[in-house]
């Protein structure tokens, strides 16, 4: 009796061919983007998205063509932070035209598909049963479509804002093996650092992804009256943590109410309050990432070498 391997192809669906076609579309789209950088934490609530919005603004202000992909399918926030929620996506044969944020930043987020603030992402289907089995696949297929079917055009940089979860790194790398680098965001709290350390291990040891560095967010609070700085958390010094984990330290972003207010208003603080301490810190971090990306080819080569 014939075995599985004796039968060429499948019964007529050509599933492998369909998957290959999907990957080819993704590869062709990504070939027009010079640098792809993922921003992640592993831990939720550390301020990844606000860091992404401002890094995008910093690079765009520097003259780069920048795109931002909100990879947080179920908790999209970049549409609001970059002030594009009211825009309509244009569906064309060649791809979907993304929304345009400040300085021409191209933005694609699930938020642009949802009709109201209160609407969550709900999938059509005959059942909610077994959702733990198929929801991950739905999100992965959505992320692939967002990457491959958005008409990004020629970009110097695409920033991906990843949702919480240390598993996001291998999932993303299976879609984007040519990822140029990962920026990891932490709070200076023990709880955050506990999870972030796992993300670093996953990226560095397990999937061998190039880590551009660690950013400490909400580093300290500066009193608006006397200017004194006060630590908000009692974790390990993030620079020491980076050294311990043997990854670059990119800098600290102070806790600043202006930063969160600007995020709510849909304007990166870096553009509206460029002299604010948080804005200046983010500019320095963007510069360091830019420097690290110049070394990215070396990182990629190191990844390929045995």
């Amino acid at each position: 009796m014939k075995t599985y391997g004796d039968i060429p192809g499948d019964a007529g669906s050509d599933v492998l061919g369909q998957v290959n076609a999907q990957q080819e579309r993704l590869r062709a789209r990504m070939a027009r983007i010079h640098a792809k950088v993922a921003v992640l934490s592993g831990k939720g609530g550390v301020g990844k998205s606000v860091i992404v919005a401002n890094l995008a603004a910093a690079f765009a202000e520097g003259g780069l063509r920048v795109g931002v992909l909100d990879a947080d399918i179920n908790g999209p926030s970049l549409g609001k932070m970059l002030g594009v929620r009211g825009q309509r996506l244009a569906f064309e044969t060649a791809g979907v035209q993304p929304a345009l944020g400040p300085l021409g930043i191209r933005v694609l987020s699930m938020d642009l598909f949802l009709p109201s603030d209160e609407t969550p992402v709900l999938w059509t289907g005959p059942t909610e049963g077994g959702g733990y089995l198929w929801r991950g696949a739905m999100e992965a297929a959505t992320l692939r479509e967002f990457l491959a079917d958005t008409e990004w055009g020629e970009l110097d940089m695409l920033l991906l804002d990843l949702p919480p979860g240390t598993d996001r790194i291998p999932s993303l790398l299976s879609l984007l093996p040519e990822l140029h680098g990962i920026v990891i965001v932490t709070l200076p709290s023990q709880v955050s650092q506990l999870i972030v350390a796992k993300s670093v291990t996953m990226a560095k040891e397990i999937v061998k992804a190039p880590i551009l560095g660690l950013v400490e967010n909400m580093a300290a609070h500066r009193c608006a009256h006397c200017g004194a700085e006060e630590a908000l958390f009692a974790g390990e010094d993030s620079a020491q943590m980076a050294e311990r984990l043997a990854i670059p330290f990119l800098g600290r972003v102070p806790f600043d109410p202006v930063l969160t207010r600007c995020a709510d208003e849909g304007t990166p603080v870096l553009l509206s309050h460029p002299t604010a301490p948080a804005a200046q810190a983010l500019s320095r971090i963007a510069a360091k990432i830019g420097e690290a990306l110049h070394r990215a080819p070396a990182l990629a080569e190191a990844k390929e070498s045995p």
Partner: protein, 164 residues
């Protein structure tokens, strides 16, 4: 997943899909040699699993439609986000069925019988108002005479037999 006709030791081919109805998709496989058929019936969770892979049962024939998966999968979306343009030649509005049926025809499997490409082309040249009648007659002739495949020669024999 592949299906094997144990009696014939022959790989089975998709001949028909139905649904999804009530969350269940029916995919019918036929043996090209003995024409025995089996149907795979999915439960709602399995149907959703297949859907989440963004592959089409029966093969993808429609040209790529950007973000068709997201647009067809979101239960609630903005009004201005158009639904994907799925071809539906059968008028049933079901991408699974229409695409599978198209794939079925492409392989030369029409109505459960195996037609060679040349014979299928000749069948298509028969005026539409008598085509289904002619097809049934030819397939009946093939079955009665033990023909595994419907070739142009079988068509000609049937034509002479029925005086078509």
């Amino acid at each position: 997943m592949k299906f094997l006709c144990v009696q014939c030791d022959e790989a089975m081919k998709i001949t028909e899909t139905k649904g999804p109805e009530d969350g269940s998709l029916a995919v019918v496989f036929g043996c090209p040699t003995c024409r025995r058929q089996v149907a795979m019936l999915t439960n709602p969770m399995e149907t959703q699993m297949v859907r989440s892979l963004d592959v089409k049962i029966g093969g993808q024939q429609a040209p790529h439609d950007p973000m068709a998966f997201v647009r067809s999968s979101l239960a609630v979306k903005r009004e201005e986000v158009p639904s994907p343009s799925e071809p539906s030649p059968t008028g049933l509005g079901c991408p699974f069925t229409s695409i599978a049926n198209s794939a079925f025809e492409r392989q030369g499997l029409i109505g459960g019988a195996i037609w060679t490409e040349e014979a299928a082309e000749r069948l298509n040249n028969i005026p539409s108002f008598v085509r289904s009648w002619a097809q049934r007659g030819i397939e009946q002739y093939a079955r009665e005479n033990g023909c595994q495949r419907i070739t142009v020669e079988v068509m000609e024999e049937a034509r002479q037999r029925f005086g078509m």
